[in-house]
């Protein structure tokens, strides 16, 4: 009985830590959604490209500490590029073309990665100690702890910047009402661009912390986008705290269902949660209902 309980706890904890990575990716969705009412359906591909760029930077001899910021800069540039290339025009024309365009840019990223780095999964070297730590009989590895700490740290940092820097406040103003913000002298286009760049940087950062656990490969992104999107929808697209809870819940649920029902059922809880959330609470569990005044 005790051993069974411990096994379940182990699975839940491992899944929850990985779930923090989903939360960080979902946070990337949230950033661009609040600013410009659009999200990057190629977010997973940005995660993958960030991981590959980080890997290449360590490959040319940079230490991990330098490779991560390097990957984030590249991720910011890519996020900015996606917004300029795929989103801005579609939004100006008030159509939903950006959905397809962001997916296409993502697919283009996959092809590029296959051609540049090859189709094989590669290990991502990290300076963390090997082996595992044990808490009350539950094993946790260093890379897993780094995912949790990194995801929380990154989200906290961006939230603080949003509240206490001029740029952050400007972006918030644009999220609240782009037209009024423009009247106050804020260029809403630039604010939206900035949110995409930050979202891209967060995605690349997520890549560099996930990759040591999952290895790096062009297809690592495919499942991640869907999971992060589930987390974002379930939590609501405007609650940072909710994302973390939903991420942990999804990660644990996945691991537990894989463990109890067999590994083929791993993906089921995410999809079920997504369907339930869309049917019962489209604004998300932690989201505020938007009341349109006519």
């Amino acid at each position: 009985m005790n051993a069974d309980f411990l096994a379940l706890a182990q699975m839940a904890v491992g899944g929850g830590l990985m779930g923090m990575a989903y939360a960080l990716m979902a946070y990337g969705f949230q950033l661009t959604y609040t600013a410009g009412k659009s999200v990057n359906f190629g977010q997973g591909e940005l995660v993958m490209l960030g991981a590959f760029i980080g890997l290449s930077l360590t490959g040319i001899g940079l230490p991990y500490w330098a490779a991560v910021p390097g990957a984030m800069v590249a991720g910011a540039a890519l996020g900015w590029f996606v917004e300029r290339a795929a989103v801005r025009l579609a939004l100006q024309q008030r159509n939903e073309g950006w959905i397809l365009l962001t997916i296409i840019v993502g697919l283009f990223g996959v092809s590029a990665a296959e051609n540049i780095w090859g189709r094989d999964d590669k290990p991502f070297p990290v300076p963390w100690p090997e082996g595992a730590l044990e808490f009350f009989g539950i094993s946790v590895t260093w890379p897993e702890l780094v995912i949790a700490a990194g995801a929380l740290g990154m989200m906290a940092l961006v939230e603080l910047a949003k509240r206490y820097t001029m740029l952050g406040i400007a972006v918030q103003a644009v999220s609240a009402d782009p037209d009024s913000a423009e009247l106050c002298g804020i260029r809403s286009k630039s604010a939206i661009s900035l949110s995409w760049a930050v979202s891209g940087a967060a995605a690349a950062f997520a890549g560099t912390i996930i990759a040591p656990v999952t290895t790096v490969g062009p297809t690592m992104a495919a499942a991640l986008t869907l999971k992060a999107f589930s987390v974002a929808v379930v939590a609501g697209l405007d609650s940072g705290f909710g994302l973390v809870l939903a991420g942990i819940a999804l990660g644990s649920a996945e691991n537990l269902s894989g463990f109890l029902l067999g590994s083929g059922w791993r993906e089921a809880p995410g999809l079920i949660l997504l369907i339930l959330a869309l049917a019962l609470r489209p604004q998300g569990i932690f989201g505020k209902k938007i009341i349109r005044k006519v």
Binding site: Q10, M18, R119, D121, S139, V213, F259, S263
Partner: protein, 409 residues
């Protein structure tokens, strides 16, 4: 006007010259995964075969009925995917002038695609795919006349060795982990059958599967650990094997991993790092220059491809030896026609000195009730290897004799 006439002349002359060329070349196709999770095996097999081809061509080619014919190579990447592999087989069998095919790493592809070769009677030497199904499918179908030969230690032999090794280590309880592909599932069945055959000394306390692309094996490993398994018998390919090794390390589950020869793949050894040390697997070839028979091949491979380590030494050596055997068969057949090549493969007269062994009549006339007729390897051609600091070494040093002086059968 002038330009178009020029183009016409060039086209005509090239097409004429290719007709002239076609008369004195032997066309051989090599298929395998040159990208994806099983790429180390596919690429090494291809490069080993190409090494043999370049050596043969440097000596003027194969003597076919008095004329020296060079080998022309056609390469196709099946990406390790069943459907893609079937398309490749369809394409090659439709070309019409292919004498023989060497390759296939993934058992599922042999199951899906080889029927196209059998329909057209094209000779194929399967290497290094080891799954039992790629040959037993023909014995089950009762095929009378089979142009498919295997040049790899098939899973029946490998499972036998894995179970022997576990028994030798004095183990009582084992867990079986396998991937959900044709290879993994038939490997699991081979293991269970072998345990029965060897007197049921091992008790299987857990059977767990995983999918291609799974990175987190904690669940399967916890079940194995809780059930008290003393070893993990495993059938899968590199990336997932590495995930199992690192999961084992994470859980502090320090039991040996014994499995199919895929535990020697570079994408297991390199990704698992120190977690992979001690993994045991059957090998037909060990990349160890102190073995005299192997040394010339190892050195030639390193030199030709500028590497210090062969990604999959077994695949490379098997690709090389298979090509040498095929060349001898074409020579003895005195023809580039698949039917004649098949007949001479079933009855090779000369002994072929390869990187693995001196091959003396490795195959015999196909008998649907006995797949061994088209299998080149026996238990005695195969040794146990062990991962040690990024390389595969002999697990039982006493078996070095086998690799040195071994004759086949």
């Amino acid at each position: 006007m002038k330009a178009s006439r020029f183009i016409l002349t060039v086209l005509l002359s090239t097409s004429l010259s290719s007709v002239a060329m076609a008369a004195d070349v032997v066309k051989i196709a090599i298929t395998g995964p040159f990208s994806g999770g099983s790429a180390p095996m596919g690429l090494s097999m291809r490069d080993g075969a190409k090494l043999a081809i370049s050596q043969i061509n440097q000596n003027g080619g194969i003597n076919v009925g008095g004329t020296k014919m060079k080998i022309e190579l056609i390469e196709r990447d099946d990406e390790g995917k069943n459907d893609r592999g079937a398309l490749v087989a369809q394409e090659i069998s439709a070309m019409g002038d292919i004498s023989a095919v060497i390759g296939t790493v993934n058992t599922g592809i042999a199951v899906m695609g080889d029927k196209y070769y059998v329909e057209k009677g094209i000779v194929k030497i399967i290497t290094p795919a080891a799954g039992s199904a790629s040959m037993t499918q023909w014995s089950k179908a009762g095929t009378k006349d089979l142009p498919i030969f295997r040049f790899a230690a098939h899973d029946g032999i490998q499972a036998q060795m894995v179970v022997e090794q576990a028994t030798r280590l004095g183990l009582k309880k084992v867990a079986i982990l396998h991937d959900a592909t044709n290879y993994g599932v038939s490997g699991r069945d081979d293991l269970i059958e072998q345990i029965k055959k060897q007197g049921g000394k091992l008790k299987v306390v857990a059977i767990e599967k995983f999918a291609i692309g799974d990175k987190d094996m904690t669940g399967q490993l916890i079940k194995a650990k809780v059930s008290g398994a003393q070893a993990i018998l495993i059938w899968g390919i590199g990336p997932e094997l590495a995930a199992v090794a690192s999961g084992k390390e994470k859980l502090g589950f320090k039991v040996p991993m014994i499995g199919g020869w895929t535990l020697s793949m570079s994408n297991f050894i390199d990704t698992a790092g120190t977690a992979g040390n001690g993994a045991l697997m059957p090998q037909t070839f060990i990349e160890d220059e102190s073995i005299q028979r192997a040394r010339p091949f190892i050195q030639a491979y390193h030199k030709a491809y500028g590497v210090a380590k062969i990604p999959s030494p077994v695949s490379a050596a098997q690709g090389y030896d298979a090509t040498m055997l095929l060349a001898e068969a074409i020579h003895e057949a005195g023809s580039t026609k698949p039917a004649q090549i098949k007949a001479s493969l079933e009855n090779l007269k000369a002994t072929v000195k390869g990187a693995i062994a001196d091959w003396k009549k490795p195959w015999s006339k196909w008998d649907p009730s006995n797949v061994e007729t088209h299998e080149a390897f026996r238990r005695t051609n195969t040794v146990m290897g062990k991962v040690k600091n990024g390389r595969v070494v002999l697990a039982n040093p006493s078996e070095k004799v086998l690799l040195e002086g071994k004759k086949t059968k």
